[in-house]
């Protein structure tokens, strides 16, 4: 007996957002326990629910899964979003790791000092425009198919779509030189489950604000500023 997966995280995007996207795209309903206090977190620790004392944590299929990639790999595989064979999986993994690196730059953004934020903003736009988006544009142009891998919707498409939207929040015309990605974005946006997730009232989380940063710092007692990545 399955029951709905339950997500344990803060009320915000962070590392859990990709999990929410994947579940939504797979049409899986999920519950969330939103961490607001240090006490909630300490209780999870005491109960031994967090294998490495960290969130994200997802209760699913009788397991308490931690480590974002482990969770995402599992969800992709169980919902046929991980390609048909090892070679397709290898491509999906390469593409997803690229979008993970790009989104990581954005993820740490709210926790940077004001001075580092400006540099990071420029870095995000530069990397998206010169490193990541050209790679995906080329993939789509080379095979001329609707989806990144194997002519079939996969986790790679969901993850890239999420990344595109996040970068557009930093620079709204960032796709201006990427016609394939513009069409890709339009296609994915129109998929019913994606469309639903994009609507207000879904479990999609908004752009992190000061309240989110404050909550994370308080719950994790993480009061230092993250250093911008090299």
């Amino acid at each position: 007996m399955a029951g709905k997966p339950k997500l344990y995280y803060f009320d915000g995007r962070g590392k859990m957002e990709s999990v929410r996207w994947l579940l939504a795209a797979a049409g899986v309903e999920f519950e969330e326990e939103l961490l607001e206090t240090r006490e909630q977190y300490e209780k999870l620790l005491q109960d031994g629910a967090l294998m490495f004392q960290q969130v994200p944590m997802v209760e699913i299929d009788g397991m308490k899964l931690v480590q974002t990639r482990a969770i995402l790999n599992y969800l992709a595989a169980t919902h046929n979003l991980y390609g048909r064979d090892l070679k397709e999986r290898a491509l999906i993994d390469m593409y997803v790791e690229g979008t993970t690196d790009l989104m990581q730059l954005i993820l740490m953004f709210p926790f940077l000092s004001a001075e580092d934020k400006e540099k990071q903003h420029a870095l995000i736009v530069q990397k998206a425009t010169n490193r990541y988006f050209p790679a995906y544009e080329k993939v789509l142009r080379d095979h001329g198919q609707d989806y990144l891998v194997g002519n079939q919707f996969s986790w790679a498409d969901i993850h890239l779509f999420e990344a595109i939207l996040m970068v557009e929040e930093k620079k709204c015309d960032v796709l201006s030189e990427f016609p394939q990605l513009q069409m890709f974005k339009a296609r994915i946006s129109n998929m019913p489950r994606i469309k639903k997730f994009l609507e207000p009232g879904s479990q999609r989380k908004p752009i992190p604000d000061d309240k989110y940063v404050e909550t994370v710092r308080r719950v994790l007692q993480m009061y230092y500023n993250v250093k911008a990545s090299v």
């Binding site: 294998m51 490495f52 004392q53 299929d61 397991m63 899964l65 931690v66 480590q67 974002t68 990639r69 482990a70 969770i71 790999n73 599992y74 595989a77 169980t78 090892l86 070679k87 999986r89 290898a90 993994d93 390469m94 997803v96 790791e97 690229g98 690196d101 490193r131 990541y132 790679a135 090299v230």
Partner: protein
Amino acid sequence: MSGKVKLHYFNGRGRMETIRWLLAGAGVEFEEYFFETREELIKLQQSGVLLFQQVPLVEIDGMKMVQTRAILNYIAAKHNLYGKDLKERVLIDMYVEATMDLNDLIMRHPMQPPEGREKNLALIVDKATNRYFPAYEKVLKDHGQDYLVGNQFSRADVQVLETILMMEEMKPDILAKFPLLQGFKARISNIPTIKKFLQPGSQRKSKIEEKMVPQVMKIFYG
């Protein structure tokens, strides 16, 4: 026809070392191309073989694979080191993702400015001793088996051993409070493919010498 696996990296551990470990553990022979200067890396970037202009790059089965985790996932699956089903795979993924978090800290340690190094070492030792190693110790204790997952040798065993050995380089008695991990270390080290990799003359790389760090940074960052 696939031909030998070829690794492209600098002559050091970095992000490629875990890949070397896994290939070795799987008994797969591989060739290595080392770049020594920034110019050589730039040449590789300009050649268009690097999907995101980054290394590691591994040529395998007709593919030019990049992204460490993609490469590791492929090798593990191909060589039956990734569990027998999805539930075993997710356990393996959890365990190896954590080793990669710790490995990242270890890898970045030599890049710390001298004044921060002692504190950073203490942080890494604290994480190994209080976060990661207790978790693996508990896994072994709970099932009492020789291997971390599914009573069968997997990439989780290889990657946890790699991390244990790197931590021992930083603090030789790091396993003092973890008797089961001590036993685990001995057992896995004795597996023939692993034993071979641990011998001098293998393709295992040494810990980077402090004086080499600026040179390596220059290759990657200019």
